[in-house]
Amino acid sequence: MEIRTSQANGRFPVTIFHLKGDLMHEEPLYSQAAHAVANGDQHILLDLSEVPYVSSAGLRVIHLIFELLHEKSGEDQEAMKRGIVAGSYTSPYLKLLNPSKNGLKVLSLGGYDMFLEIHKNQQAAVASF
């Protein structure tokens, strides 16, 4: 898998990981995301435009990045719980951009699309943070 990183600014600075190739392993994405979070990045957009296939390991690394950001943010647990109960909670720190049909099918099967916003347009995705 090839990973290119870029930065964009909306209300917050957003780190965008542009992925190219099948998302079938935790690495190298997890290490790069962990490095970004350790360096203070708080908002990550995963650009899946060029990811034809997402495996269960791909879901796992998305989950791990969610956890990294969630733990680092000190997100208000009570507010999060209220959002979950209301069915309105999505991560304010991790969002997804333009998954393929296959990718979206796997994300939906795992229920990830309920808790992670999925955008089709990069500008709108960055502005949504």
Partner: protein, 140 residues
């Protein structure tokens, strides 16, 4: 059953991705519906990774894959010689749980179940795990 493909060899995790594209092409050329083929290959991919990652603990291991056509159905049998493991006995994950409280893992078997119409397991007399995937209405 008309056999379309057979592989019997030692395989590593690194080699798994290379299997998918030629198999997809082969099955579509044989008249398979592209979306149904894609679904069943997603399931097969998870089974192969499961065998290599868990069964053979990340080391290369022997796998046999037989793909055939039975009427309109696509039938895939995958054999390994790893310790017994019955994925059909794994309880499904609760995908309604938020990621923040959801345990990691369990999605591979979930994908195997949901991207096929039938999933069967047998421990053979020869000491192999045999998984059978069936997807109906692949060939019209």
């Amino acid at each position: 059953m008309e056999q379309l493909y057979r592989l019997s060899q030692t395989t590593s995790l690194d080699a798994v991705a290379a299997l998918r594209q030629p198999l997809q092409q082969l099955l579509i050329t044989a008249g398979g519906d592209p979306e149904a083929v894609s679904d069943v290959l997603l399931a097969l991919n998870e089974a192969i990774i499961n065998s290599l990652h868990h069964g053979y603990q990340g080391q290369p291991g022997w796998l046999q894959i037989e793909i055939g056509r039975a009427g309109q159905s696509l039938v895939i049998q995958q054999y390994d010689k790893a310790p017994p493991f019955d994925p059909t006995a794994v309880p499904p994950p609760d995908t309604s749980l938020p990621l923040a409280v959801r345990p990691l893992g369990g999605m591979g078997v979930h994908m195997m179940r949901n991207f096929t119409d039938e999933l069967h397991y047998q421990r053979t007399a020869e000491g192999c795990n045999r998984l059978t995937f069936i997807k109906h209405n692949v060939f019209t």
